[in-house]
Amino acid sequence: MNDQRHRLGGLLTRETRVVAAGVEVLAGALAEQAVPVEAVDWRPPPAGTEQALAAVLGDPGHADANARAVRRMVTARPHLVDVRPAREVLGLDAGTFLHAGPPLEWERASGPMRGALMGAMLLEGLAATPEEAERELARGAAALEPCHHHATVGPMAGVVSPSMWMWVVEDAEHGGRSYCSLNEGLGKVLRYGAYGPEVIERLRWMGEFLGPALRAAVRRHGPLDLMALIAQAVQMGDELHNRNRAATSLLLRELAPDLAAAEDVPRDLAAEALRFAAGNEHFFLNPGMAAAKACADAARGVPGSSLVVAMARNGTEFGIQVSGTGDRWFTGPAGVPDGLYLGGYGPDDANPDIGDSAITETAGMGGFALAAAPAIVRFVGGEVPDAVAATQRMYEITLTEHPALQIPLLSFRGTPAGIDVTRVVRTGILPVIDTGIAGREAGTGQVGAGLVEPPPGVFTDALHALAEIA
C-alpha cells in the first residue's frame, strides 16, 4: 500500500503495454505510436449467453474457485496400489453392470454398447447365448449404472461386470480412489462391442490368471507413481489416449521384476502375462485413465468453479460434469469421430463417439497433449504443425499448464490442463479428443481411430446451470 510504484499495478510508472480486444483501428493507433500491443482475436460468443457469462464471471469467488479446483487437479498424485475384482472393490452385485458415459438405458444403447453388455451377460453366466443375453437385457434383467458414479472409468463401451479385475489407483495427495478395468488388447474385444467366443474366453483368462498375477506384482512392487510414469511417457511421444506405447513399456519395466519374483505366480503364467501386456500397445490406457480420473475427481465439488471434471460418452450421448454443479450431467448427442478406418471400413460403419477415455483430455492429456505425440499426428488429418496447433488451441480454453506433463516440442511447456466451461463458450473452441472408433453393429469391434469434438450445447447448458447458482 505504501509502495506507490505498484499503485494501479504500476500503470503510471511502468512502460505502457496494452492488450487490445475489439476495434482494429484502436490497436492500429497504438502500433502507430510504437506502443507494444497484444491483440485478441475476439469473436462474439453464442447469442443468449451474455448474461450467464456475466453472472458466472461476476461471482467474486469464481476465479479463486477455479484456481483451487484446477490446483487440486494438477497436484493429485495418483498411485497404482492394487488390482482386485470389481465385485470386491466396487461392491458390484451380480446383474449390475457399469458402462461408459452419462446414464443410459438399454432402449437408447448403441450397437457396441449393447454388444458389450451382451458379452458381460455371457461372461457372468447370466445368459447362455447372445440371443438370450439380448432378450434378458431388453426386459431389464440387468441394472445399468455409469462407471463415473462409482469412481470408475472404462474405455469405449466401458462395461464393467463383477468378475472383471480392476486397477486400483489412490491419490496420495488428496486421498481419493479410482478404478479402471484391464485392457483386453485390440481388434475384436468387448469394449468395442464384440462378444464372440474368443472375446469371452480372453476375459475369462484375464479374470482367472492375469488379474491375480498383476495383483501379486503390484502388491509386491508397492504404490507405483503413475503421474511420474505418465510424465516420462509424454516426453517419449505418448499422449496417453491414442498412443500408450511408451507408458506401456514403462509400466512393464516397473512390474516385470516383481512379477518374476512373485512366488505365487507360476513362471509360465508370469511369462504369458508379460507377453499379453507387451503385445498390446494400449495396455497402459486403463491405468492411465484411472490416474486421470483420480486427478479429475480431486477437483470435484468446488462451489462456483466452472472446471470440467468429466467428459464421457455412452455411444449415444456425450456428457460432461462440472466441479461447481455436483454430479449433474450436461448431455448432447454424441458425434461421429473424424478419422482413419481399418481395412474396408468407412464412416458408414462408425458408431457415434463412445467411452470414458476422454477423462485423459479432462486431465490435460490425450488430444490436449497431441503436440507431444508427433508419431500419431496424422490422426489429425495433417502434419506435425496441425498437432501443435491443436494443443496450442487448447491453451485458450484451459485454466493452467500442467506442472508435470511437459511437451518437449513446445520447449517443455506444460500441457493445457483444466477445461473451463466459460472459456469454451466464449471462444467457441471445443476440446479436441483423441478416440478409437467402434463399429456401429454390435459385435463388430474397432473400425478406426481419429478425433472427435463434444456437442457445443453441453457447455452452454453447464454455463446456464452455473449462472443459476452464481
Binding site: Q4, A21, V23, L26
Partner: protein, 488 residues
C-alpha cells in the same frame, strides 16, 4: 477382379501412416480394395477378412500389401496402383512444404489468454458493450487495468467491474471512455501532446482532448489522462473510478496539478469529488462546463496560472470571407464531440440567456447536435471515424436559408479519421458557395504533432471559408457574436 498380395520384409511404417496410405490407395480409380499394414495378427485377420490370402511367415515387422483391382490381368491397373503405393509411402515420410516445424502461432482468443502472453499494464476493450464483461474480468484477474471504449455496458456490470478493480488495486476507465493517455501512450482517441506536469481525470473524452490540446498550445505538457467513463460521476456509480484516478495521480511524483474534466456531474457526486480533491496534496482544478462554472478554456487558463505559466492567445485561423448573417437566422452546432457540444450550448445559454427550446415565429431556433450520441452511432462508427452523417447535416443546413451560422468541431489525434479536412473542407466550400451570408466556425481540437497535423487541417478548413479556433469556447462565442450581428 484381381488380387495382389506382397510382403515387404523389414519395411516399417507407423500404423496411422499406413491407414492413410491404405485409404488413398482404395480411393484410386480402378482399385476395388486395398490394405497396407504391418503384419500383426490383427492386421492379418483384417486382410484375410477382406478376402485376401496372406502368405505364411509375414510377421509384425513386415509390411503386408494387399491390393484388389477391378480390371483383368494385364490391364495396367495393378501396376499403376503399385506405383502409386510407392509414391504414397515416399510422401508419407517427407516433411510438408512451406510451414515451419511448429506452424503458425495460434492467436489469443480471450483477453485472459493475451494477458498471459504479454506483461501488459492495461487492456483496451472495444468489443460490443454486452460482451465487455468477461473480457474486463479477464483483465482484472490478470492484474491489468482496463479501459472500456465500448458503450452499452449495463450499469450493474460497470459497478461490479469497478468494485472488482478496487479489490485488486486497479482502475476501470469507462465504459464509454474515449480517451486516455498513459505515460505518453494515447489509448482510444488521444492527441499527441508533450509530456509534462498536468494529470487529467476525464469523465469526458473530448473534454479531455480539448484540455490537453490547449495546454499543449500553451507549452505545458500532460503526463497522464485517466478516463473514467461518462457515467462514473452518476449517483449510481458515485465516482468510483474518479476517486481512484485522483488518488493515483496524487501519488504520482510527476504530476504537479490535476484537472478534472467532466460533463456536469450529479450534485452529490460533485460534492464527494470536491471533498476528496481537498484532501489531496496535489492541487485540483475543475472543468465542469455548466452554468456558473468555468468552461474548458477557462479551466485550462486557471491551470496555467496555478502552474505559474503565462496564458497565451489561443490559436485561431481567420478566413478571408466576412459573411454577415441576416437578423433572425439560426445557429446550427453540428458536433462530433459530446462535451464540446454541451460546452457550446452551455455558453449559448449562460452567456446570452437564450431559450433554445423556444420555437416561436421570432425565435431563432438555434440547435446543437451531438453526432456521437447513441442515436447516431447505433450500428455505425463514431463521427470522429466516420463523418458521413455530419457531412449530410452540413449540406442540409446550408440549403436551409434560415440557418446563418454553422458551428462545427473537428477532433484530431490517434484513433480519429486520418484526414478530416479532406472531406469537410470541400463540404464547407460547397456550403458557402451560393451562401455569402452563411458563416462557418470550426473548433479544431488537435496539436501540431497529431498524425493529421493541426496546422495543415486548419489551413484547409480556413481556405474553404471557415474561421478556425483552437478553443471550443472561443469558436462558440465567435459563432454567437456572428449570428447576433455583433462580431468581435
Amino acid at each position: 477382379m484381381r488380387d495382389w498380395v506382397e510382403v515387404r520384409r523389414g519395411a516399417y511404417h507407423d500404423s496411422v501412416t499406413l491407414m492413410r496410405v491404405s485409404r488413398s490407395l482404395s480411393e484410386r480409380p480402378g482399385v476395388a480394395g486395398a490394405m497396407v499394414a504391418m503384419g500383426t495378427e490383427l492386421n492379418r485377420e483384417i486382410v484375410e477378412g477382406m478376402g485376401f490370402e496372406v502368405p505364411a511367415g509375414a510377421g509384425p515387422d513386415d509390411l503386408v500389401v494387399a491390393i484388389r483391382v477391378a480390371g483383368a490381368a494385364g490391364g495396367g491397373e495393378l501396376d499403376a496402383a503399385r506405383e502409386a503405393l510407392d509414391g504414397l509411402l515416399r510422401d508419407a515420410s517427407r516433411p510438408p512444404a512451406g510451414a515451419g516445424l511448429l506452424g503458425a502461432a495460434v492467436p489469443a482468443r480471450t483477453t485472459g489468454s493475451a494477458a498471459a502472453r504479454a506483461d501488459a499494464t492495461v487492456a483496451l476493450l472495444s468489443v460490443p458493450g454486452p460482451h465487455v464483461f468477461p473480457e474486463a474480468m479477464d483483465a482484472l484477474d490478470a492484474g491489468l487495468n482496463v479501459m472500456i471504449f465500448s458503450d452499452n455496458v449495463p450499469l450493474g456490470q460497470e459497478i461490479a467491474l469497478k468494485e472488482a478493480a478496487a479489490r485488486r488495486g486497479l482502475i476501470v476507465m469507462g465504459p464509454d471512455c474515449g480517451t486516455a493517455v498513459i505515460g505518453g501512450a494515447g489509448l482510444g482517441f488521444a492527441n499527441a501532446v508533450r509530456p509534462g506536469p498536468v494529470g487529467i481525470v476525464a469523465a469526458s473524452g473530448t473534454g479531455a482532448q480539448q484540455l490537453m490540446c490547449l495546454l499543449d498550445a500553451a507549452g505545458v505538457g500532460v503526463g497522464h489522462v485517466l478516463g473514467v467513463g461518462g457515467r462514473d460521476l452518476s449517483p449510481e456509480v458515485s465516482g468510483r473510478s474518479a476517486l481512484s484516478a485522483l488518488a493515483a495521480l496524487d501519488a504520482d511524483p510527476g504530476t504537479e496539478l490535476i484537472v478534472l474534466v467532466s460533463k456536469p456531474p450529479a450534485p452529490q457526486v460533485a460534492d464527494l469529488i470536491r471533498e476528496a480533491a481537498r484532501r489531496l496534496d496535489t492541487p485540483v482544478v475543475f472543468a465542469l462546463p455548466m452554468p456558473g462554472e468555468d468552461d474548458i478554456t477557462q479551466a485550462a487558463e486557471k491551470a496555467l496560472r496555478a502552474l505559474g505559466r503565462p496564458v497565451p492567445r489561443w490559436p485561431r485561423w481567420a478566413a478571408e470571407r466576412r459573411p454577415e448573417p441576416g437578423s433572425g437566422q439560426a445557429l446550427r452546432g453540428l458536433f462530433a464531440g459530446g462535451t464540446l457540444r454541451d460546452e457550446a450550448e452551455m455558453i449559448a445559454r449562460g452567456a446570452l440567456g437564450w431559450d433554445l427550446e423556444a420555437r416561436g415565429a421570432e425565435a431563432p431556433g438555434h440547435r446543437f447536435t451531438d453526432f456521437g450520441d447513441d442515436a447516431y452511432t447505433r450500428g455505425r462508427a463514431h463521427p470522429m471515424i466516420d463523418p458521413t452523417l455530419r457531412l449530410e447535416a452540413v449540406r442540409e443546413a446550408a440549403s436551409d436559408p434560415g440557418v446563418g451560422v454553422l458551428l462545427l468541431d473537428v477532433v484530431l489525434g490517434y484513433g480519429a479519421e486520418p484526414d478530416p479536412a479532406a472531406s469537410l473542407a470541400p463540404a464547407i466550400a460547397e456550403a458557402v458557395k451560393d451562401r455569402p451570408d452563411l458563416a462557418v466556425a470550426v473548433s479544431l481540437c488537435g496539436t501540431p504533432a497529431d498524425p493529421q497535423g493541426r496546422d495543415r487541417q486548419a489551413a484547409a478548413l480556413c481556405g474553404a471559408g471557415a474561421d478556425v479556433f483552437a478553443s471550443n469556447a472561443e469558436a462558440t462565442r465567435h459563432a454567437l457574436a456572428t449570428v447576433e450581428g455583433t462580431p468581435e
